[in-house]
């Protein structure tokens, strides 16, 4: 009798145990901060716009277009003097010896990537909501604009320039269009540029003319001009620069006005600096501002070679932009700036050079350049100037107008590809291995198809 009772007990225990899993699933439902947040992440279409807004934030971070891209680019070229710099990673750029453990490249790569990733989130989640056409076009148009921008800026730093091989079959980077985990295939430079152009062209179609502080159609045109210009595709660069300039919406600002906290009438697309409400305080481009700030203990300086063609006393621009070897164009009383990434100054110079290169309207080119020259306190360009002279002055003016904006390095590479295969940038051949940044470990670790760039060779 006893064993029977015992077995009954054991059996019922076993039965109980077997039943557990069925009630267990519900019981085991996790509860924590994270699950709550995730549940509330994407409820309304406003949430989509917040994701889009986060991509702009990524773009404007100090680790990306808020400073690091421009700073490191200028350090690798010939106009920066790093003698006071203490930042070991900046010095790696200056010495053209970036390695896989360089924080600047790590951060640039990831922060640049966030721009792409977040707009891809927008495009992935968009279909879950009922949107008006205008909303849909804005979301997609801005997304494509930002995605192109994010890729373009990284591509120029980490791969050999467009035109390095005749068919541009040399290695580019991956172009992220989804939010799938892991690497996407590495493209050639040709394919990379095609992807960038495709996104920007779609953005032109989708974006409205007016879009507050966010990218509008002209921002897309402006970036297309910059991209085509980098490709030495002067026809297309000209077309897009014309679209912006011809719209009449943008006027040249004063020299100092270009970098102010209130924004500039010539800015087509800027990184927005917000003050006032501490809850929304964001010092966009603070990184760039501080890097050149003479008050800083270790500021970036301009190299003596920079002043060969223009000194602080030569022009109005010189007095406003340089103080000794300091570049003070960004500095103002607010200690903050809105940083224009596309502005009329550059587009006018692009248009002038493109007109000269394509044998277009040279008078228009001369007018464009003169506008810039006059503002900087120089005489206008001689009426007799031909294409060659226009190009020479356009390039010179780019060097001085865009100093500190990360222009010079890519400009030199563009020229090397175009016409000067033996071009030397601060003592080293323009295409020595160290002239492109080494991929950082956090990029290599996630992409089995990516081989490290060769290093060194620029001493």
């Amino acid at each position: 009798m006893r064993p029977i009772r015992i077995f009954t007990i054991l059996f019922s225990m076993l039965l109980f145990a077997l039943l557990l899993p069925s009630c267990g699933d519900e019981f085991l439902e996790p509860e924590n901060i994270q699950t709550e947040q995730v549940d509330n992440f994407l409820k309304t279409k406003e949430d989509l716009f917040e994701i889009l807004n986060s991509a702009y934030r990524g773009l404007a971070e100090g680790n990306f277009m808020g400073g690091t891209v421009q700073i490191t680019t200028d350090l690798m070229a010939d106009d920066a003097d790093a003698s006071l710099i203490a930042n070991a990673d900046w010095l790696k750029h200056y010495n053209r010896r970036t390695d896989i453990f360089t924080s600047t490249t790590r951060n640039m790569m990831q922060t640049g990537g966030t721009v792409t990733n977040r707009v891809n989130q927008v495009m992935t989640f968009m279909d879950q909501f009922e949107l008006t056409d205008a909303e849909r076009n804005r979301l997609e148009g801005e997304s494509r604009f930002l995605r192109a921008l994010g890729h373009f800026e990284l591509l120029r730093l980490f791969t050999l320039p467009f035109g390095y091989t005749p068919d541009n079959s040399h290695a580019g980077m991956s172009y992220y269009t989804t939010i799938d985990w892991g690497a996407q295939p590495r493209l050639t430079v040709r394919e990379s540029y095609d992807s960038i152009l495709n996104d920007l062209n779609r953005a032109v179609e989708l974006l409205p003319e007016e879009n507050g502080n966010y990218a509008n159609r002209f921002a897309a045109h402006g970036y297309l001009a910059k991209v085509y210009f980098q490709m030495n595709d002067f026809e297309n660069a000209l077309f897009h620069a014309d679209q912006v300039i011809g719209s009449g919406r943008y006027q040249l600002d004063t020299l100092k006005g270009r970098f102010s906290l209130s924004g500039s009438p010539e800015a087509v697309f800027s990184l927005i600096n917000t003050t006032g409400d501490p809850a929304f305080d964001f010092n966009a481009a603070g990184e760039l501002y501080n890097a050149w700030n003479p008050v800083n203990t270790n500021p970036l300086l301009l190299d003596d070679g920079f002043f060969v063609e223009e000194s602080a006393s030569d022009t109005t621009r010189g007095r406003l932009f340089y103080s000794g070897n300091n570049l003070i164009k960004f500095q103002n009383e607010a200690n903050r700036i809105q940083l224009p990434l596309v502005h009329l100054t550059e587009l006018l110079l692009i248009r002038a050079e493109c007109l000269a290169e394509t044998g277009g309207d040279l008078q228009q080119a001369r007018d464009d350049i003169s506008e810039i020259l006059l503002r900087s306190g120089q005489p206008p360009i001689a009426q007799a100037s031909g294409a060659e002279e226009i190009i020479r002055i356009a390039r010179r003016e780019r060097r001085y107008e865009l100093a500190g904006e990360g222009n010079r390095f890519h400009e030199l590479k563009r020229i090397a590809v175009l016409e000067d295969p033996d071009l030397i940038i601060r003592g080293a051949l323009w295409d020595c291995p160290g002239m492109i940044c080494q991929f950082p470990d956090n990029e290599l670790a996630g992409n089995p198809d990516l081989d490290p760039n060769p290093e060194g060779g620029c001493d």
């Binding site: 996790p30 901060i33 949430d47 716009f49 470990d441």
Partner: protein, 1056 residues
């Protein structure tokens, strides 16, 4: 023939028939232990027959229908020495035979605590190491797990450092995880306790030790379940082994009191020598001139830079300064410990009460761990069928911390230069951030942990064979981490940040991090033992159970403005600077059922099955439940009839397989991770253009689940000359599949979190464990000379079989350049190979590696590229490690000499690259230099020295920066042999009825270390920020880590 009749008889009996034979006798009796306590369920058998029975609740038995004659009657009981009596029974006679069994102290038949029960050692089919009370308390430890070092084969215990509150890295049979926790499961009296090393994150550069509040003196035994057949009963939590801690309980008898105390002091095992002021200035000057400079080398900016409001010092003044920071930060730490306990028991209630206070100052000024603890364990047996056990403990651990890197010895050997004064000329502190004396004064860190572990267990025993147990447990932990910052500290550290709102007129601030961990668990088991029903032939026991566990965690941070620089727990709400959000909220749930079946035949053949099914909220939606079976076999060959060796008296073969899991996974990664600007929050980091932002940081992985470890074991247990010499030899192979790895996504793919935990890796560990106990000389009579030797050795080989990563850097061990690389051990040193120096220029040379093949090209280069030139050069795991203990007793004297050893591992000194690298004293962040550089660096062409020529410029060494200096010159052998403890005791004869024992002793810890390692201490574990760093770069990577303590103590044990 007789045998056959009995067999037939039992067969018939087994079929439910009973066969009455005429004219037989009866034997009755009682079986008790040596205290007179009846033994329930003891076995009585007539030797040479199958006739036997077991005792009932009174310990009494009745053997009826015994055939008359002369025979041996044997009584046996698990854990007791069996006895035999020669008996002559005549026809119809009724004999009364009582047995008094004494506890078996032999190793081979000790009682071993296994999961949810106990077993005799001879019954075991798995590998379990047992440590008893005295092995744990002999050595002076702050936390009990430190006492396990060298005591059990295959169990590697690496104490972090000599700092108070330092946690140990405990690895049983190697490390079987990369990204998940590698520490064993700790079970205290049946409760899997809260054991998170990162609850305090890595604040103050030190991990929290969750075991430190368990008083070692309350522990009766520690069982280490090493193989799967032993551990698999703990299922998804057992893959790293299980450590079962059993606390002391009351015993029947008069109250017995024990008082023990010890007092002593602590010093570092070694003080590494650094350059003094004169030497440092000189070496600096030489480097300055080597770089082509002329004139006097500039002073460090800390002595000249007015930005930091330091006074300016002239060179001549600086030459007069020679601060010995080591003198300032080191001390003779005083240690004291007091324990009082009482054990008592009566007919139905047994009690253990223990109280303890210990105060451990270390050799570092300001560093101290204090523990005050109390425990009450009560067992109530109201009836034979009911047993109630209550255990409760309350302990407070208080650690006054010194930051091992940024303060104390860390600062003294890095950025606190001997040319810096303690005080400026005006009497104020010189640069508190470079001044360990000032830092100690102005920045105080204290951790207070309140811990209570409780349980209530009720067993109902309806019949002797059956036991139902229900146990409820509650483990509570309140961890408070306080940081008190004097205003001067805030001011100095914010010199470059004048806008910091903290820089308001205040006496300072207090930051408090509080983490509450509540952990409830309950389990119910039913165990049925058919054990003695069929004596000497078959025995069977079945255990079934369910378990349920729930734990929640709540963390909160607050920041207070101080009105006085006094330490206090609570500060009024009005002074709150930052009310703080909850930084952790978590609620975890766990549910499980399990079973175990043990069968043995003739006490020779043993078979065990276990099974466990675990469900946990830690596992992703798609994989909530896992199954964990095991099977084990044992065969005692020496009990076979054919075995008749006189000297080889015991041989047991055992083999097992089992599957266990590891649930110490980064379980949060089953969820997506998002950033959302909450409307109630103000966080400007999450806005753009005056609008909020939100984004997905990482997608979810609902497939995330436990790691799986399959373990195969074969082993032999041996006894020679009646167990004068016993040995155990085990081989194991263990393979982790579904190992969780942080699968990286390229940075440019733009996720805010660049890795996602996935079950994709494979790792193997295989090794040999050997244990030897030899009673070399056995005392012939009490007080005679005896000598016992214990030796153990563990050998483990670790290999990463599969990682789904594109580069070694994907699975890194944090700072210190260790990596988990396919085909290598999971803490492989992956660095540049230093190839000596160029005798002509004194510049260092490195081996070049071919970018395509990964093989060295044979070229030596001046400038290396980390992307290509790093090589696999060793790893931190020792090939063999263990301990050797010799114990001598003679008369009233006792002496024990215990060595631990570790061979075959490498140690990487991550600080040596600065202390022996580029001279750096003229800039911010200037470092001290080691004295062994002097006389060992290149000075003129032709010199072949250990170190290259001195320089201030990293480029001279081909470096991209002063910190990018990781190569094999800083990698050394970590071999060591250490006199872990030496204890010499004497029992003072006291003629008193009151005092039973009065022993005085001296014990020394880490008295001698034999090693070629040139740094501080070869036993080192670097404090880390997550389990992956702890696994891949935890042990044998050092960065300013303080050395272990050498401790001298005098102690007194009084029993009364």
């Amino acid at each position: 023939m007789k045998q056959h009749i009995y067999t037939l008889m039992w067969l018939l009996a087994g079929m439910g028939l009973s066969l009455q034979l005429a004219a037989q006798g009866t034997i009755t009796g009682v079986i008790t232990d040596d205290t007179g306590e009846p033994l329930i369920g003891a076995n009585v058998i007539i030797k040479g027959t199958n006739k036997g029975t077991i005792t009932d609740f009174d310990g009494s038995y009745v053997l009826e229908n015994v055939e008359p004659g002369s025979f041996a009657l044997a009584a046996s009981y698990t854990g007791y020495v069996s006895q035999e009596r020669q008996v002559t029974l005549s026809d119809g006679q009724q004999l009364s035979i009582n047995f008094e069994l004494s506890e078996n102290v032999e190793m081979l038949d000790e009682v071993v605590v296994v999961g949810y029960g106990t077993k005799r050692r001879s019954e075991l089919v798995g590998s379990i190491s047992k440590l008893e009370e005295d092995e744990l308390t002999e050595v002076n430890v702050q936390s009990f797990e430190q006492a396990l070092q060298g005591q059990a084969s295959g169990v590697q215990v690496t104490q972090g450092s000599g700092l108070a509150g330092s946690a140990s890295v405990v690895r049983i049979r190697g490390t079987s995880s990369i990204t998940s926790g590698g520490d064993p499961l700790y079970v205290v009296d049946g409760i899997p306790i809260t054991q998170d090393y990162f609850l305090g994150e890595n604040r103050g550069n030190q991990n929290n030790n969750p075991l430190a509040t368990i008083n070692p003196n309350d522990i009766e035994s520690v069982e280490i379940l090493k193989d799967a057949s032993a551990a698999a009963i703990y299922g998804s939590r057992a893959a790293n082994g299980v450590i079962i801690i059993t606390t002391k309980r009351g015993k029947k008898g008069k109250p017995q009191f024990s008082f023990s105390t010890r007092l002593g002091f602590s010093e570092p095992t070694k003080v590494l020598e650094f350059m003094n002021s004169e030497e440092l200035l000189q070496i600096h000057q030489e480097a300055w001139e080597n770089d082509g400079n002329v004139g006097r080398a500039p002073l460090p900016v800390a002595l000249t830079n007015e930005n930091y409001d330091a006074e300016n010092y002239t060179y001549e003044e600086v030459e007069q300064i020679n601060t010995d920071w080591f003198d300032e930060v080191l001390q003779k730490g005083f240690k004291q410990e007091y324990n009082l306990s009482m054990r008592a028991g009566g007919d139905w209630i047994n009690t253990y009460v223990g109280a303890s206070y210990s105060d451990n100052e270390t050799y570092m000024v300001g560093n101290r761990f204090q523990r005050i603890s109390g425990r009450v364990n009560v067992d109530i047996t109201p009836s034979e069928k009911l047993k109630i056990g209550i255990s409760t403990s309350l302990a407070q651990g208080l650690t006054d911390r010194v930051d091992p890197l940024a303060g104390g010895l860390g600062l003294a050997q890095s950025t606190a230069l001997p040319i810096y004064p303690i005080f400026n000329k005006d009497g104020e502190f010189f640069r508190p951030d470079l001044n360990p004396v000032a830092r100690q004064e102005l920045l105080q860190q204290r951790t207070i942990e309140l811990r209570s572990i409780n349980n209530l267990s009720i067993s109902y025993i309806p019949v002797p064979e059956l036991t139902f147990t229900v146990q409820g447990n509650y483990d509570f932990m309140n961890l408070r981490d306080h940081q008190l910052e004097d205003f001067e500290w805030i001011r100095v550290t914010n010199i470059n940040n004048p806008g910091n709102p903290l820089l308001q007129d205040t006496l300072g601030i207090s930051r408090q991090w509080r983490t509450l961990a509540n952990n409830w668990s309950t389990f119910a088991t039913a165990e049925y033992r058919f054990d003695k029903v069929l004596p000497r032939t078959h025995s069977l026991s079945v255990l079934g159970g369910v378990e349920y566990q729930r734990s929640d965690l709540d963390g909160r941070f607050r920041e207070y403005r101080l009105n006085d620089f006094v330490y206090r727990e609570e500060i009024g709400d009005s002074t709150i600077l930052n009310a703080g959000n909850e930084f952790i909220i978590d609620d975890e749930k766990f549910i499980s059922f399990f079973g175990r079946l043990n069968y043995s035949y003739l006490d020779r053949y043993f078979l065990q099955f276990t099974f466990r099914r675990d469900g946990s909220s830690r596992f992703g939606d798609n994989n909530r439940f896992g199954n964990f079976p095991s099977v084990g076999l044992g065969w005692i060959l020496s009990r076979e009839d054919f075995w008749n060796s006189r000297w080889f008296t015991y041989l047991k073969f055992k083999a097992s397989w089992g599957r266990t899991g590891n649930d110490e996974i980064p379980w949060q990664e089953q969820f997506a991770s998002v950033t959302v600007l909450d409307s109630t929050e103000t966080n400007a980091a999450e806005t753009y253009n005056n609008e909020p932002i939100r984004y997905l940081r990482r997608p979810a992985n609902p497939d995330l689940r436990w790691e799986v470890v399959n373990t195969y074991d074969v082993g032999f247990e041996m006894g020679f000359w009646e167990d004068r010499l016993t040995a155990e030899l085990v081989y194991y192979y263990q393979r982790t599949t579904d190992a969780i790895l942080n699968i990286p996504t390229p940075a440019s793919s733009g996720w805010a979190e660049l890795s996602q935990a996935r079950n994709v890796g494979k790792i193997e560990n295989q090794g040999v464990e050997f244990t030897l106990t030899s009673r070399n000389i056995v005392a012939r009579d009490p007080g005679g000379f005896s000598w016992t030797t214990n030796f153990n050795l563990g050998h483990n080989q670790n290999k990463v079989l599969e990682v789904a990563a594109a580069t070694p850097d994907a699975l890194a061990g944090g700072f210190g350049d260790t990596r988990a690389i396919e085909g290598e051990a999971l803490n492989t040193n992956f660095i540049i190979v230093y190839a000596g120096l160029d005798a002509a220029t004194g510049r260092p040379l490195y081996e070049e590696v071919d970018a395509e093949t990964g093989e060295p090209t044979g070229n030596l280069i001046f400038q290396y590229r980390e992307a290509f030139d790093r090589q696999v050069v060793g790893n931190g795991f020792p090939a063999v490690f263990g301990g050797l203990n010799n114990t001598f007793n003679w008369g009233r004297f006792d002496l024990s000499i215990f060595f631990v050893y570790s061979f075959g591992g490498q140690i990487y000194d991550d600080a040596a690259k600065r202390q022996l690298g580029v001279v750096s004293i003229n800039n911010e962040g200037a470092w001290n230099m080691r004295r062994d550089l002097i006389g060992n660096y290149w000075q003129q062409p032709g010199d072949q020295t250990m170190f290259p020529r001195l320089t201030l410029d990293p480029a001279t060494y081909g470096l991209n920066g002063i910190w990018n200096h990781n190569h094999t010159n800083w990698l050394e052998s970590a071999d060591y042999v250490r006199l872990r403890t030496l204890t010499f005791g004497y029992n003072i004869p006291i003629r008193s009825n009151f005092i039973r024992r009065f022993r005085v002793y001296f014990t020394g810890q880490n008295l001698l270390t034999f090693t070629n390692y040139s740094g501080w201490d070869p036993e080192v574990a670097r404090e880390r920020t997550n389990p992956q760093e702890r696994n891949v770069g935890g042990t044998n990577v050092t960065y300013l880590t303080p050395p272990q303590e050498r401790v001298y103590m005098f102690g007194l044990d009084i029993d009364f």
